[in-house]
Amino acid sequence: MITLQHYLIVSAALFSLGMLGILTRRNAVNVLMGVELVLNSANLNLVAFSRFGSGNLQGQLFAVFVIVIAAAEVAVALAIVLTLYRLRRTSNLDAADILRG
């Protein structure tokens, strides 16, 4: 029998892996991938709670909005990364270093 906890564990694994990616990778695109993992884990939580908990659809609708927001965010982020690349020829975060102090 698959219970809520099964899904929560998968989601916890996704969340931690996403955070690991965010903390360890130095490439902007890679950090974004980590963020996507975190968002997916949260969505999985929302849907699982909607299925096993209250039974309302609020979780699912929330998840739809999260997906839409993620798309907008990635579009803007990649535009910025592309501009950075055009200006610096790299998307490595360590190269973004002129703002210091």
């Binding site: 996403g18 360890t24 990778r25 299925r51 997906i67």
Partner: protein, 166 residues
């Protein structure tokens, strides 16, 4: 082990393993392609949870939109033959410690907590209901999201476009 459990373990394994590849792969491009399987696995879990509309949305937007954008980002910001896209592993140890700490805490929370119990929602058709909610209770966020998309589209185009005088 019944069919549901089998399907769950298959999709769960796909999700988690490919997510691990996303995070640990040395080549950026491998991470990006592994992400495809993560999204796919999550979509499978959605189906299992009875969220058919959401699963299709996941495929459409995450795979067809976000992943393709990310792939474009990877390819446009790296020289074509730059196979060795290794990232430095400087903070790897610290990252592992923090992430596994988080993992333990979140698992502990997930298992120990008494989550809200209710009637639950046996897998059923959701599309019509989702549509009605979008046009009813969720009208405000729905419209707000459309403004957000408009602004993001405009903003992204503006950022990438070169200056008028350049």
């Amino acid at each position: 082990m019944n069919a549901e459990a089998a399907v769950f373990y298959v999709f769960g394994a796909i999700t988690v393993l490919s997510a691990a590849v996303v995070v640990l792969a040395r080549s950026l491009i491998y991470s990006a392609f592994a992400l495809l399987f993560t999204f796919f696995g999550v979509a499978g879990l959605y189906v299992l949870l009875g969220a058919d509309f959401l699963a299709a949305t996941q495929l459409l937007i995450y795979v067809g939109g976000i992943l393709v954008l990310l792939l474009f980002g990877v390819m446009l910001t790296h020289k074509l033959y730059d196979l060795d896209l290794r990232s430095e592993v400087t903070q790897f140890l610290a990252g592992i410690i923090v992430a596994s700490g988080l993992f333990v805490i979140v698992i502990f929370v997930a298992v120990r907590t008494q989550w809200a119990t209710g009637p639950g929602r046996p897998p059923s058709v959701t599309t019509a209901e989702v549509g009605r909610l979008f046009m009813g209770q969720y009208l405000l966020p729905f419209e707000a999201a459309s403004i957000l998309l408009l602004v993001a589209l405009m903003g992204a185009a503006m950022i990438v476009r070169r200056r008028r005088d350049a």
